[in-house]
Structure formats: structure tokens, C-alpha cells
């Protein structure tokens, strides 16, 4: 790849949201803004090859995209009057616009993650508009056909225009709830990538990278928000183990089996610093506690040296702020590791009637492990068999089948 082409690719990854968010301010139309930004990137390929890469690629691209947008808006002014335009905060003086450039990304991401849009549409729009993925790429990420994804994105854009979902940073009263929505989208993207729900690969690298990019972006926009810092920390600390989660033979490796020397130290250091900072806020929220749990693992030099009491204590707090059966399940597992398999099993059995855990493979898998360690092989076998039936990830299924085989007949 030529130097200019590389620079354009890097700018696409780093600057897309910045350029698009600023261009939407001119067009007040998402589709038109996307076209102008795509044009600007196409022009950059030739211009940068001829004249060199500019010092500030994002500013260059923004200028070109906005100039093109102004041109089109003027030319089509009469036609566009009939179109529903994005609603903006008109009170803002135009002279202040330049200073607020960085904030435009917050407008864009808050529009994409608006609670009036379906969750799946929020994720799709975020990947399309904030990350700059093509519709085909977004479709691949969610294992649906391109026409299905195109229809989903079009429907969401239509609702934004028809219902007048505003293109603005939410009112301060609303901002915390809206940021929560943005973080939920980033978190969903990360967990989907970290353990792909279906398919042959355990990890969808592309999705994890995008989630990390987004978390960093939101962190830049809201540097003082403890939850934002905590989500970035959670992603960094969890993803730091990526090289060690699957063995050379493709087998799933548990936290206890992973080679901790190969964990990404730089990511861990960055994550730990963020967790420490986030923990100074009281009371700690969901992501802060999750990141703190990930930090306990990251700091343990070996599985046997894990501070399980600390992990249980953090889970006790987490179930209070986030009373989810899945969190209760993880807490039960930690109880078993802190106080022995019998204690873990009784904590797990307390969750047996939880309807949300019916069909959730991790419950029988965790039961099977404690039963095995208690020497109750027959019951362990039944539980492993149940877990194998319930998981749809090939790497996880192979792991469970291997455990089952080791129990013997």
C-alpha cells in the first residue's frame, strides 16, 4: 500500500466519526453527510498522493467534506425544503461552532444510541456512522444478510428524521441516562466480539477492536465520567488476555490455565490506572465493579494466588447495583473458589429456578465443575452433557466435550 493509501486507511479508522459528525452539522441529513464524507476520503487518496499527507488529516477531510456539503445544500436548497431535516439546537451561535468540533462526535453517538431506537438498530447505526463500517461489514458483524442490515439501518435513519430525534448533546439532566445507553452499546459490541455467541471462532477481533476504539473515543469526549473510564478499563483488562484464551490446538483455555506471562502488560497497566481512578467515585457503578473484578485477576501473578475473597466482595456489591441472574451466577462461582466446591454448588443451586438462566450453558457448566471436584462424577457427567447441548460456540463446546471425556464412563 502506498504511503497516501495507508494514511487514508488510518484516517478512516481514526477520524471518520469526527469528520462525519461535523459534516452532519451542515447537511442536517445523515445520508447526504455520509456521501460527502466518502467523497472527501476518495479525494484524499489522490490529493495526498500528489501533495503529501497533511499535518492534520482529520481537519483536511472535514474541510473538504463540509465544503462539498455546503455546495450540495445550496444547490438543492429548494428541493430539500420538503425533506424532514435533523433537528438541531439552533440557539448555538455559529461563531462558537469551531470550538465545539470535538463535541460533534458526542452528538453523533447520542443520536445513534437514542433510546427510541431498537437496541439492534443502535448498534448497527453506531458501527455504520460512528465507526464508518460499510453496510456489508456491519451485516457480517451480526451474521445477517446485507439486505437485512441495509433495511435495518434505513428504517432507523427514517425514524430519526420522521420522529425528529435531535442531533444534539442531551440536556444535562438527561445526559447520565443517555451515556448509559451509549456504554451499553459499546459493551454489547465488546461482549459479542469477546465470546462470539455462535460460530467457529471464539473471538471476533474486528468487533473487539471497534469496541475499544469507541470506548477510547467516549473517554476523550467525557474524560471525567467514572463509568466511561471503567468501561474502557474493563475492555482493556479483559482483552489483555486475548493471546492466551485459546491453546495452540484451538482448545479453550480457562483463566486458571492461561499463561499470564503472555498477557498484554501495557493494556493491563492502562486498565489498572483507569480502575483506580474510577474507584475513587462513590458509590461505584456496574462497570467500575466489573472492571475492579477484572483488575483482581490481572494483578494475580497466578491463578492460585487470586484473591477470591476480594472477588466475592466485589460481586456482592455488583449484584446490588446490577441484580442480574448472570452476575449472581458469576458470584456463585467465585464463592466456590473462595470457600470450596460445596459452598459454590449450594450458591449455584439457589439459582436453579431463575427463568433467565434456563438454557444458559454456563450454569450447568459451572455445576459440573463443582460436582467433579466433589467427586460426584455421575451428576457431573449429566451437567456437562446439558452444557454441551446448550452452547453454540464451537470452541466452548469442544472444551466441555473434553471435560466430559476426562470424567470417563
Amino acid at each position: 500500500m502506498s504511503a497516501a493509501a495507508t494514511a487514508v486507511a488510518v484516517a478512516h479508522r481514526r477520524e471518520w466519526a469526527f469528520v462525519l459528525a461535523a459534516t452532519v452539522r451542515v447537511t442536517r441529513d445523515l445520508d447526504l453527510a455520509e456521501e460527502c464524507v466518502q467523497d472527501a476520503y476518495a479525494q484524499a487518496l489522490t490529493a495526498w498522493a500528489a501533495n503529501g499527507v497533511p499535518a492534520k488529516p482529520g481537519a483536511w477531510l472535514t474541510t473538504v467534506a463540509r465544503r462539498r456539503a455546503l455546495d450540495l445544500v445550496r444547490r438543492e436548497a429548494t428541493l430539500r425544503r420538503a425533506l424532514p431535516l435533523l433537528v438541531e439546537d439552533e440557539a448555538a451561535p455559529p461563531s462558537a461552532e469551531h470550538d465545539r468540533f470535538p463535541d460533534d462526535r458526542l452528538r453523533l453517538i447520542c443520536t445513534c444510541c437514542h433510546p427510541a431506537l431498537a437496541a439492534e438498530a443502535q448498534v448497527a447505526l453506531t458501527l455504520r456512522l460512528v465507526c464508518g463500517l460499510t453496510t456489508a461489514e456491519v451485516a457480517r458483524a451480526f451474521l445477517v444478510s446485507e439486505p437485512t442490515m441495509a433495511a435495518r439501518i434505513t428504517r432507523a435513519k427514517k425514524k430519526i428524521a420522521a420522529a425528529r430525534i435531535p442531533y444534539r448533546v442531551p440536556h444535562p439532566d438527561e445526559l447520565p441516562a443517555r451515556i448509559e445507553g451509549v456504554l451499553a452499546v459499546v459493551h454489547l459490541l465488546f461482549t459479542t466480539g469477546h465470546t462470539a455467541p455462535v460460530g467457529a471462532d471464539l473471538v471476533r477481533r474486528d468487533l473487539v477492536e471497534r469496541a475499544l476504539d469507541l470506548a477510547r473515543m467516549v473517554r476523550t469526549l467525557l474524560p471525567d465520567d467514572a463509568d466511561v473510564g471503567a468501561l474502557l478499563a474493563l475492555i482493556l483488562l479483559t482483552d489483555a488476555r486475548r493471546a492466551t484464551r485459546v491453546g495452540a490446538d484451538g482448545r479453550l483455555l480457562l483463566l486458571s490455565e492461561q499463561d499470564r506471562a503472555r498477557w498484554d502488560r501495557a493494556a493491563i497497566e492502562e486498565g489498572l490506572a483507569l480502575v483506580r481512578q474510577a474507584l475513587t467515585r462513590r458509590p461505584p457503578g456496574r462497570y467500575v465493579l466489573e472492571a475492579a473484578i477484572a483488575a483482581v485477576h490481572a494483578e494475580a501473578p497466578a491463578w492460585a494466588a487470586t484473591d477470591w475473597e476480594e472477588v466475592v466482595g466485589l460481586y456482592d456489591l455488583l449484584v446490588q447495583v446490577w441484580p442480574s441472574p448472570v452476575v449472581a451466577l458469576n458470584r456463585a462461582v467465585a464463592v466456590g473458589l473462595a470457600h470450596g466446591p460445596a459452598a459454590g454448588l449450594s450458591a449455584l443451586d439457589a439459582l436453579a429456578a431463575e427463568p433467565q438462566l434456563a438454557g444458559y450453558a454456563y450454569l450447568p457448566a459451572a455445576r459440573a465443575d463443582f460436582l467433579r471436584r466433589l467427586g460426584r462424577a455421575d451428576e457431573a457427567r449429566t451437567a456437562y452433557e446439558e452444557a454441551v447441548l446448550l452452547t453454540e460456540n464451537d470452541v466452548e463446546r469442544a472444551f466441555l466435550a473434553d471435560r466430559l471425556a476426562r470424567l470417563g464412563g
Binding site: A82, A116, A162, R164, I165, P166
Partner: protein, 115 residues
Amino acid sequence: MAQYVVLIYEDEKSWFSGDPAEIEKGTQAHTEFAAAAAEKLRGGQALQPTGSATTIRKDGAGGFTVTDGPFVETKEALGGFYIVEAADLDEAIALAKTVPAPFGGVEVRPVQVYG
């Protein structure tokens, strides 16, 4: 500015044969809402219960079938609406949150604009 309709869906039984004190409270809440939101309100009505509804559909043979009852039977039925003016969906949602619906919830729909 744009107009939205706030459609109120509630359990009819609670309104028409429930606890009189609760009904009185609900009625009072609507009076208070109408006063508080007067500047944004462009209209609204409460509807008689679905038992009073009549549904008319084309019969496919050039005529009509007229039947007793609402278009769709649901536990929470359309019982009234307000028309409100708002700058955008966020403002409309904020306003909708103040619409009393003690026995159900509300739906916000933008009004279609022509021309």
C-alpha cells in the same frame, strides 16, 4: 416545532369499574396535566370504553361488515389521546412522561406533515 400525538393505553377495567378513589385521583391528574401543559397542548380527548366501539371493514365483495367491538382486542386499550407541540422527540418524550396513565402507559407518534 412539530406535533405529536400521545396515545394513552390503559386497562379499561381500572377506569370504568375500579376503585372510585383511584379513578377520582386519575381524573384529577388529567386536569392538573392539562393545566400544567396548556402551552404545549393542541387538543385531546378521552374515549368511551371499547365496549362502545364498532368496527367497519370492507368485506371484499364491494360491501362492508360492521361488527361490535374495537379493531384490535388488547388488555391495555386506547382510551384517550393528547395532541402536543414539541421541538423534537426528546421534548415530546419528556412531555409524555408527565401524561397521567395510572393503569397503563403511553405511546408517542409524530404527526404526518404533508407538503
